[in-house]
Amino acid sequence: MSIPALRIAGLQKSFGKPVITGLDLMVGAGQLYALLGPNGAGKTTTLRMAVGLTEPDAGSIEIFGIDARTSPQDAKAITAWLPDEPMLYDKLTPAEYLGFVAGLWRIPPDQAAPEAERLLRWLELWEVRDTRCEGFSRGMQQKVALAGALIHDPQLLILDEPLTGLDAAMARSVKDALRAAVDQGKTVIVTTHILEVAERLADRIGIIAGGTLLAEGTLEELRALAGSDEATLEDTFIRLTSRS
């Protein structure tokens, strides 16, 4: 059996009141995994703990078998994080930004520069590679951030609401990019409020509510859990979360 891309066990986090309460989650390698949940369910907190931005109160996090709490740098080296607000520098150009990110991940220039060019061309940013990001639309900023996330060839890509604020064309190109990443063997975890995206894109879906994993599986497995074979993901989601 292959090593899971992400394994979370007994995760707990409290911000004055409990937010994550003993969460267990396992995401297999090479999957596109959608993490769904109502507002305040703890999706973002869980993912921020997975990438080392928030310290858990208890529990373990492993990324491809690497203990992310005791060996954070090794785990970070193979992980990319893309939050809903792109982590960009307004006054840097996309090319300069990618150069900086490559430096942080210590990718040799002779390897990073061609990869950056490939990403910029693929994401249709090549023509604006020398324009500062401050004038970019939300969608273009998201694409620059996506290029930054991919420049170091991560094995696990974690995205928090990657489609927020994007127009239809831009959302399509981001979805295509995520699918392509999975086709190349990478693992992608996304949180989204757009259930149609999860329904169409995800190999497996996890539903989180009240800081714990409520249900997990393929769409068919979730439908079966909800007791309705014909239901949409939206119906299934509402039935499952209303039970909690």
């Binding site: 982590m87 006054k91 150069g99 430096g103 590679r129 930054g148």
Partner: protein, 481 residues
């Protein structure tokens, strides 16, 4: 209290909108409950001091004359420059950062009311700031025996209204002439220069004088010898502050007339700037050639290049940093004054260490705290210590061109002295820079025009004392070499 007053006013009226602006200004001051409690206690203590002065001076007769009027004139000039600085920055925030203009201009309100409320909000904010410093002393003294001093309130209102008009007027003029993007940078530079103008003027006067008197005294004498402050227009502030009804009426009436005229006249310019401000600030640059030049080997190079780029692309911030150095100029002037009594090399060594310390401190603060993407650095596989060290080195490297200037000057007199100065300069930069980096509080760079440097007064003071001590040590060593 503002909310209480707003509930009793007709919504959408000028007074209602102005109170809304003031509510925003007071809330922007921020701070938690503890800060408000500490602030209230300090204010209470300060008012107690005012009551003490008021009691002591209650039976002392005031006989204001040309000398007192001149003192008030100089104080008013100083106050006006600071108020204009604040008004310039507040105007910029109103136009480019507040984010409420879309809402206000989409509401069924007369644009003149909105512009007037914004202008009143700027004036009110300015007045509020300076009232906190002046009124706790002024009011008790006035109420306990010298009611004529209430005229100073009229002066304060007049100065604040005029500064608000000037601040908004200059901001709009800049936006109209150089465009919204450059206007922001130029406005910030202008604000910094205005704030420092009196200081710079006194330093220049001081430099050309052989009598070793302070710059302010020289300004005082220069104005007195020309008859300023005793009569005519220049006498108005002094007379108004001491309760002359005619002077008060003229000053207040003039300022309010100017204010009304500005609110009426700036309406179109304000709307134009607001609409232009919404435009995307960056023009597309034609992309040319490959991108390999942007990729570097090693963490330090990547951090250094990034920090250098961000700094060079933010002239207003560079200016702010350099202005801190300008305030240290008097130390340097000691070494170059005619008939100086201090030896050149040790003085330069001392100056080099202190200035470099301040410069590295500011640059390290920018590198560590003016961080648009702190989460990017946290998710990167880099140890925090390595990152902090790289940022510190980047700050020191950026300061190096200025840091070596004075040691080169010392080298003309003593080469060992220059080497010692270099070591102390680097040491001071390293220590104070480390303090900044280790206590970084990352926030977007765009918010830095209104952020206080570093972690407040205590850390800045500690850093300055460290630089001073190392500077003194350098001076002493160079002296004995």
């Amino acid at each position: 209290m503002i909310g209480w007053a707003m509930r009793r006013l007709p919504p959408g009226s000028l007074a209602w909108l102005t109170l809304h602006e003031l509510r925003g200004t007071t809330r922007a001051a921020g701070g938690g409950k503890t800060r408000w409690i500490v602030g209230a206690l300090v204010l209470l203590g300060y008012t107690g001091l005012g009551v003490f002065f008021g009691t002591v001076l209650a039976d002392e007769p005031f006989r204001p004359g040309p000398l007192a009027w001149l003192v008030v004139l100089i104080a008013a000039i100083l106050l006006f420059t600071f108020m204009t600085t604040q008004a310039l920055l507040a105007s910029q925030r109103t136009l480019y950062e507040a984010g409420d203009l879309d809402l206000l201009f989409s509401a069924p309100l007369d644009p003149r009311t909105i512009v007037s409320a914004k202008l009143l909000g700027i004036a009110g904010g300015v007045m509020l700031t300076f009232s906190i410093f002046l009124l706790p002393i002024l009011l008790p003294v006035a109420l306990l025996g010298h009611p004529e001093l209430l005229g100073a309130l009229a002066l304060l209102v007049a100065l604040a209204c005029t500064a608000a008009c000037l601040g908004l007027g200059v901001t709009l003029l800049l936006a109209r002439t150089v465009g919204p993007r450059a206007a922001r940078t130029l406005g910030q530079i202008l604000a910094a220069l205005t704030g420092a103008s009196v200081f710079l003027a006194t330093q220049i006067l001081n430099q050309h004088d052989d009598r070793r008197e302070s710059g302010t005294m020289l300004l005082f004498e220069a104005l007195r010898s020309r008859g300023y402050g005793s009569g005519g227009l220049s006498g108005l502030p002094g007379r108004a502050a001491f309760g002359d009804p005619l002077a008060m009426t003229l000053l207040l009436g003039g300022a309010l007339a100017l204010f009304a005229l500005a609110a009426w006249g700036m309406r179109h310019a304000f709307l134009h700037s607001y609409r232009a401000g919404g435009a995307r600030p960056a023009a597309n640059r034609t992309a040319k050639g490959g991108i390999a030049r942007h990729f570097h080997r090693g963490l330090f190079t990547s951090i250094f290049v990034k920090e250098l780029r961000l700094l060079l692309r933010d002239p207003a911030l560079i200016f702010q940093v350099l202005l801190r150095i300008v305030y240290l100029a008097p130390i340097l002037l000691l070494a170059f004054r005619d008939g100086r009594s201090l030896p050149m090399a040790p003085t330069l060594a001392f100056t080099s260490v202190v200035i470099a310390g301040q410069l590295v401190s500011s640059l390290a603060w920018l590198a560590a705290s003016a961080e648009d993407a702190p989460d990017l650095l946290k998710v990167a596989p880099v140890a925090k210590d390595d990152l902090d060290f790289a940022k510190l080195l980047a700050a020191m490297a950026l300061a190096a061109p200025l840091g070596v200037l004075l040691p080169i000057g010392i080298a003309l007199e003593t080469i060992p002295g220059a080497l010692v100065t270099l070591v102390f300069t680097a040491g001071a930069g390293g220590v104070v820079g480390y303090l900044e980096v280790a206590h970084a509080q990352p926030a977007p760079r765009s918010t830095f025009q209104r952020r206080q440097k570093g972690g407040g007064i205590v850390r800045n003071l500690i850093e300055f004392v460290i630089a001073l001590l190392l500077g003194l040590a350098a001076g002493v060593v160079v002296y004995f070499l």
